[in-house]
Symmetry: C2
Subunit: 443 residues, 2 copies
């Protein structure tokens, strides 16, 4: 009988291994895809792309026999060569090739010039050929940043005693009411896709005290804007035993600080490649909803048109105001009107027309909605009635409160929106691998 | 203007802080839910449950004024007391209460005896009141184990240079063909829910070389068995530049070893609580599909009825065989027949009626399906034709191959199945927070 006992050492080295001083003059194998070829007459520069970046290799044409003479863009290759110091090459080294093995050959030349610094295509062109466009190292780097956000989110919350949960995306009824739901047939019954893990994460506070989830949510919103996706990744947390909704804001501020630190230490190459300056999460101002409205209306002379909601332009101006007045990138806008918040939002006992809730804006865009939730059973029933809703279909959720729940609150962060703002992009589709919107269901 | 600058120190302490020797005789606050109350006459024991476990607190009834006299099961409380060594109490300490603040009161007594060691209810009863049943500390611990699996999975793959991706769950067409798909209306078009991230993770190998995803998948399978869920969490990875499908098996073996180490070091309390002996992932036998069939048929005298597939009973016997013969918990079964594998599976060049693919069994249950994929464009088109399929609707996937892809392969692990086997449970619903099956769409 034969056994598998774990990883085996491979001949091919990581690019980073080649860069150690001791490798100069040594022979090495590397693997990757031929990213581009520059023909210089006697020699040609064959740029090899791997997950680590680009490596310059050099082929002396007069010595290029076998597959070494057949290298073309788009091939996957394993090459052998001598590691040579070369100041003008990326990372100060290049590989002088002795031999190549072509692992796979493309059928056609690449349809996009992925080796250009900035991919020469429209966003639509990029998204239509997404899996090719992302072979551009800058396009790809955006999603390493996104990975870093997720990783920082999970690491920090795990340290803070949160438990990761996986809640169902298929359900009989939804948290936020009937609008904006995708509906489907589920074995002769009707089901909906989760527009948030709201009910489940609250229910799990009664079990684990603190929970988080990173997963897809589905919104059948008929918005075709630069800020909306119909499927996105939501970073959710919910925590018990809060004294105030500000405890949620504090947890988010500390979380964002950890995310920025993770990006700085683990993703510095990508930050440099993309010329990203990270926002300051050390000190985040907070301002009441009505006060924020007043401030921007006064400073920028913009009349208040919607008393219960923030218009996108108003959010942008709030961002601008706090950048100008306090050099702040983030701002918590608190105490949203009860009218515009879901039934489970806790009203402010001092004035029940406002809630103990907040949005977090980054660069004038909402990236988080959160707040304290109602934890008292009869208060919850009363609020459902006041909102003109029916408790029918919410029994499982309501039961948790009937049998006791701690005071709690939480939030949801739109991963793509946060990524987009960190990247300095102005369309959320730039920050989603395969965006879904009203007109796009592929690739 | 006021600012949020991160976490603030709270009065309430973690249970673990109380256990430090220096706390004996000191006053402390803790928060949690009243898990159970044992009335002993003069005094009562009030067991408080938090995310960390159970803490014994003691109320001297003659001194219990205010809310200290009103403590009831199911309440969320903040209590103040003196930390006292008591060998008979869990963790060797108890808290002699001076004061209590009741943070919330239940409307009704708990419908399940969550304080019993083993929850006295059927699986159906448990699932029907899931959010309450999980307040039982053993039920809850199962999902800490599940968290540990996910955490180990991501940590290990991140170390190995894999990139985390988030791929869409809504699509126009699916990877594995038409059967078993949930269909829905997507803005006047028809869409399907992803039954696996297969196409996307392969496409992303051309970008990141190595990728992983942890997310929900949806299977409209009309199976109502102990092993099937219609929505589950799939732990997927896909990696380029493999020399053989055994590279995938090796990566999985090393991954499983890391997961077991993570559980041992970070989740030892839960392992003890649940009396779990972890399986041995150090040395995993591998055996061909046809050979495995022959071995169990011979040893257990069971005729081979389905030459192209493993029956559940056959899988169980393979597990039994390798346990008996090699003391192995896991076994890789390799070279599944091409007939029963999807079109993208790489056929064995030595005998194309078998594929370079595998399942991993744990305790006689399939927990992983994986293998090498076809990376050559024309080979892929040919296989699609041979399978009687149409390339229509798969253009985005096929384009990746047209423009060049490295040799690659990968796998998917069913998180709930792996959890179930580690827990020694025999129904996968035990290992899912909110299972979805043909008859269950709530809670």
């Amino acid at each position: 009988m034969e056994f598998i006992t774990g990883l085996e050492k491979k001949a091919a080295m990581d690019f980073s291994e080649l860069m150690s001083g001791s490798m100069a003059g040594q022979e090495a194998f590397v693997e990757g895809m031929v990213h581009s070829i520059r023909d210089m007459g006697e020699i040609s520069f064959v740029i090899v792309r791997s997950r680590e970046g680009l490596l310059q290799t050099v082929v002396n044409k007069s010595l290029a026999d076998g597959e070494l003479g057949e290298l073309r863009e788009g091939q996957a290759v394993r090459v052998r060569g001598i590691v040579t110091r070369e100041e003008r090459a990326p990372h100060g080294i290049e590989l002088h090739l002795k031999e190549a093995r072509i692992l796979s050959r493309p059928e056609e030349p690449l349809p996009l010039a992925i080796d250009k610094w900035k991919l020469p295509t429209s966003l639509e062109g990029n998204l239509n050929r997404r899996a090719i466009a992302l072979r551009n190292v800058r396009e790809r780097a955006k999603f390493k940043i996104q990975e870093g956000i997720c990783r920082g989110f999970r690491e920090f919350l795990t340290e803070q005693g949160f438990t990761e949960i996986h809640t169902p995306k298929l359900g009989a009824k939804s948290a936020e009411g009937g609008a904006n739901l995708f509906r489907l047939q589920y074995f002769h019954r009707s089901a909906v896709l989760a527009q948030s893990p709201q009910f489940y994460k609250q229910m799990m506070v009664g079990v684990f005290d603190r929970v988080f989830e990173t997963g897809p949510v589905f919104r059948a919103e008929k918005h075709n804007t630069k800020r909306h996706l119909n499927e996105y990744t939501s970073l959710d947390f919910e925590m018990g035993y809060i004294d105030s909704f500000l405890d949620i804001c504090r947890m988010e501020a500390a979380l964002l600080r950890h995310v920025m630190q993770t990006l700085e230490t683990e993703y510095s190459e990508e930050l440099t490649l993309l010329k990203i300056t990270l926002p300051d999460a050390e000190r985040i101002p907070y301002v009441r909803f009505d006060e924020a409205k007043r401030l921007v209306s006064e400073k920028y002379g913009r009349p208040i048109r919607t008393p219960y909601d923030l218009e996108p332009e108003e959010e942008a101006l709030i961002g601008q105001y706090f950048k100008e007045e306090y050099d702040a990138d983030f701002v918590f806008v608190t105490h949203y009107p009860s009218k515009k918040r879901p039934f489970y939002a806790m009203d402010d006992p001092k004035d029940p027309s406002f809630t103990l809730s907040f949005d977090l804006l980054l660069g004038g865009l909402e990236i988080t909605t959160g707040g304290q939730r109602i934890h008292d059973y009869s208060m919850l029933l009363k609020k459902i009635e006041e909102k003109g809703m029916e408790p029918e279909g919410m029994e499982d959720y309501l039961d948790c409160f009937k049998y006791g729940m701690p005071p709690h609150g939480g939030l949801g962060i739109g991963l793509e929106r946060l990524t987009m703002k960190l990247l300095g992009e102005d369309n959320v589709r730039e920050a989603c691998l395969f965006p879904r919107d009203m007109t796009r269901l592929r690739p």
